[in-house]
């Protein structure tokens, strides 16, 4: 028996546990700073899963853009917009009950669908990690137009965000 075959489930369940634990934490906590911190757990766990899924570049991008950039932005936003560190917006009981029901039903439906299909039919699993060069080639050849559109979008976002956050006078 190969070590890797019993290591992979362990690592998967580890990361999946981190992801789920912190996602549940986000839902349950009423402290927005803690929610942002739980988001770090989710993002890190997902990045770990990307590593497991042999998407190294994506994992690194997830860590650097999401965890390093977006999350700092969010925490920054929290700090700038909350009057005291422990602002709580509590939902009412009925809201919570309704939302939970909807969430559970949705999850049950999705789970039913997912488990009802035999995914192994006609699958071509990859066994080599995608290299940066492959991703880069694909980005600059097949996906060049979306890539350029995305860069224009980023520029627009930059200008737009600067315009929106600018003081009026």
């Amino acid at each position: 028996m190969n070590v890797n075959t019993w290591l992979e489930p362990i690592v998967f369940f580890l990361f999946a546990g981190v992801v789920l634990f912190s996602a549940i934490g986000i839902v349950l906590t009423r402290n927005i700073v803690r929610a942002a911190l739980f988001l770090l757990g989710t993002l890190g766990g997902v990045a770990g899963l990307y590593f497991l899924l042999m998407a190294n570049l994506l994992a690194a991008i997830q860590l650097i853009v999401y965890a390093g950039g977006t999350l700092v932005l969010i925490v920054f936003g929290v700090m700038l917009t909350s009057k005291s560190p422990w602002v709580r917006f509590a939902p009412s009981r009925s809201e919570a009950a309704a939302a939970t029901t909807i969430g559970l039903v949705l999850f049950a439906a999705l789970a039913k669908i997912v488990t009802g299909i035999d995914w192994t039919v006609a699958a071509h699993p990859a066994d080599q990690p995608a290299t940066v060069r492959q991703v880069g080639n694909l980005l600059l050849q097949q996906y060049l137009v979306p890539f350029e559109v995305a860069s224009v979008l980023l520029l627009v976002v930059m200008i737009g965000a600067a315009y929106l956050a600018r003081p009026e006078n």
Binding site: L80, K83, S84, P167
Partner: protein, 394 residues
């Protein structure tokens, strides 16, 4: 974060959340800087009203070091009061001694021997150097440069060695006293002092290289905390803080006591070399230049001391009787005009003693200057005004 409400200024408390729909851009915050803060130079407390990094208002709160120095003066004889003056501006004790002694001498008409006058000039100027060294070093510390501070202390250490050899104390000297000085200078004092001056003078250029003309330091201090000449006069500033604004006013020239008129020296004033006239850098650089001038004075005084034998003290200094009269006498201390108001009632003990500390007056301009600058500029400005809390609170 508990809201801070100032009883004297209830309008300052903007920490409360404004919930009405309005044009709230950002929130203001009250921050206590001090009384225990690394760059308030002692137990100064400044309440800052800030908007992010911007400081909208700064209200100094003083009195944490109040020791009833003036009241004590009304209960002891002038000669006994000299040690208390040491503890006012503890970085320039000699100058405090000198101011009080001169005031009493002027009130009683006591004649000071020639040799004592020369010794007084030497020690006052050496103490000015020591005080400016601390000021310079601590200013570097405020800007985040730790090293000049220790260089400054290394140099000051040797001045204190000289003082210790002369009077046995390193901080609270009580050396200059009514009628002269407590003791003659020790043997070889002139040689050692000259040696020190030869060692010290080139160091000034090194400080300039290290700190004064350092690009980051200039960026931090030039065009920050500008005090115009008019404003400086209106707020009663004195000393380097006044001269930094370009006002050529120095009591050593205006009414020379102790024979300052016999020495050849210049009054450095701020010139707006790196920024606008009267900014923090100008005030800082005036001190550096004053050290140079003090070296000049001490050199001349040492020459004069060698040729002035005689008494170092008037015999009746210990038991002066104060006439029914009053006097206000001030000298140019290390931080500005240090004055004593003394009212006698015919006995040995003064009826009223009142000190005018330059730090106290200089500090009053804080809010005016600190307004609308960045949080990081607050230490820069307070450091450039160079207050000593012992003298502010007395």
């Amino acid at each position: 974060m508990a809201d801070t409400v100032l009883e004297s200024r209830p309008d300052l408390n903007l920490d409360v959340v404004r919930d009405e729909i309005g044009d709230v851009r950002t929130e203001e915050m009250l921050v206590n800087m001090g009384p225990q803060h690394p760059s308030t130079h002692g137990v100064l407390r400044i309440v800052l009203r800030t908007d992010g990094e911007m400081v909208l208002e700064a209200v100094p709160h003083i009195g944490y070091l109040h020791r009833c120095a003036e009241k004590i003066g009304e209960n002891v004889a002038p000669y006994q009061y000299i040690p208390y003056t040491d503890r006012m501006d503890y970085l320039a004790g000699m100058n405090n001694n000198l101011a009080f002694s001169l005031a009493i001498e002027a009130l009683t008409g006591l004649e000071v021997p020639k040799r004592a006058q020369v010794i007084r000039v030497i020690f006052a100027e050496m103490n000015r150097i020591a005080s400016h060294l601390v000021s310079m070093g601590a200013y570097g510390l405020d800007m985040g440069a730790f090293t000049p501070f220790l260089y400054a202390f290394r140099e000051r250490e040797r001045i204190l060695d000289l003082f210790e050899a002369s009077c046995g104390a390193r901080l609270t000297y009580s050396y200059i006293t009514i009628g002269g000085v407590t003791d003659d200078v020790p043997e070889r004092f002139i040689d050692v002092c000259r040696e020190y001056l030869d060692y010290f003078e080139p160091k000034i250029a090194e400080y300039n290289n290290l700190l004064s003309f350092n690009h980051i330091f200039v960026k931090r201090t030039a065009n920050v905390g500008i005090i115009s000449a008019e404003k400086a006069i209106n707020w009663g500033l004195s000393g380097p803080s006044l001269r930094g604004s370009g006002v050529k006013w120095d009591l050593r020239k205006v009414h020379p006591d102790c024979g300052y008129d016999e020495y050849d020296f210049d009054i450095p004033v701020g010139q707006g070399l790196k920024g606008q006239l009267g900014d923090c850098w100008d005030r800082y650089f005036v001190r550096i230049q004053e050290m140079q001038q003090s070296v000049r004075i001490v050199r001349q005084a040492l020459d004069k001391l060698a040729g002035t034998p005689g008494e170092y003290k008037h015999k009746s200094g210990k038991s002066v009787k104060l006439p029914k009269d009053e006097i206000y006498y001030e000298i140019e201390g290390a931080r500005g005009q240090l004055g004593f108001f003394i009212q006698g009632d015919g006995s040995q003990i003064p009826y009223r003693v009142k000190a005018r500390g330059p730090s106290y007056c200089n500090l009053s301009i804080t809010n005016e200057v600190v307004k609308d600058c960045l949080l990081a500029d607050v230490p820069a400005i307070i450091g450039s005004i160079d207050v000593v809390m012992g003298e502010v609170d007395r």
